[in-house]
Assembly symmetry: C3
Homo-oligomer: 140 residues x 3
């Protein structure tokens, strides 16, 4: 069984949901060496997250931003953690609702994603800065 790991840094992205499948594939060409295995992508932050969703129509990603803003309100007077800006505590909540990692099986040297699946980097802050991601792949 082989294992490979690669860190990559995404330059600051605007608040919203961004497709990064291509960046992951580019950062980890060793996926092609694995016939049966697994790929994990992990984001090292608590106000950004990763998820898998529709890779074609950009309005899906706009609707994600709209929905999560409605569901996790800014300026809720009940927040105690409010000194880092009105987008901060909502960003922490969104990050845990969506999760800090995705796991995708590898089959015959390729990610076994469905036709419509892509990896999203979800930026929940207005000025989130650069984001560090760790990609780990194992299998044989």
């Amino acid at each position: 069984m082989k294992i490979f790991q690669q860190s990559l840094t995404f330059r600051e992205k605007r608040r919203g949901f961004h497709l990064i499948t291509g960046d992951i594939l580019q950062a980890m060409p060793q996926i092609s060496e694995i016939s049966t295995g697994m790929c994990q992508v992990f984001i090292q932050h608590t106000s950004a997250s990763l998820t898998i969703n529709e890779n074609a129509d950009p309005t899906v990603r706009k609707d994600f931003e709209m929905y999560f803003n409605k569901t996790v309100k800014e300026n809720d007077p009940d927040y105690e953690h409010d000194y880092e800006g009105s987008d901060d505590m909502p960003a922490h909540l969104k990050a845990s609702l969506l999760g800090s990692s995705v796991m995708i099986p590898i089959r015959n040297g390729r990610l076994a994603l469905g036709t419509w699946q892509g990896i999203y980097l979800c930026e929940h802050r207005d000025r989130g800065g650069a984001r560090g991601v760790v990609v780990t792949v194992w299998g044989e």
Copy 2:
């Protein structure tokens, strides 16, 4: 370390939450050959999802359907992605809230699930069609 992978297809299920622990065990008898390892189940779709929850009382699964319908509304006029039916964009959102994979440790040839834990296939569309799932198991 050994690794095994199996694809399986579930025939169309009605919208709602369905226990599939038995199907996973049946599709992957090699779990019994692993004394210490891991099992990942991945769904290759963006309008259906997987989660782990209560495996006994069917009303729990009915309440899941009720809760997620309340929380992720259909026909929100703010959706831009609305041409595939009123259940489509909510299905994408529910899929990311719940997630596209579950991971369960293997111990002594069995999934180390708690007494009350089962794997749910969560069908978020009215007519979702057949659903492809990939089961991957590794360990020694």
Copy 3:
């Protein structure tokens, strides 16, 4: 490739969000033997969950409890599964929103967590009792 697994039991915690990164590290000293690998933490329950979030300011964890109580209401008359107490069905829903496992890459003998990331055990019941967790680590 090596693989290690360890079960641990947390004594009953009060309802809310609790940092357990230190407990996981203590239960699995073999992390230091792995230069490239992965750590999975799995909770064997359906009314408690695991997530990764901010490890410094305790008000973040208080705001998590506040937010999830607002979002997943107790005593919704639409719940059918209500005979185990008003906190029971909400606990199942919160558990699936947050998830039953976290996965963290290992690099150079350490969890590759970001500076502000910690592992939360999320206790969703008023009297959840002891909670069983399985930690699995693999790599080389």
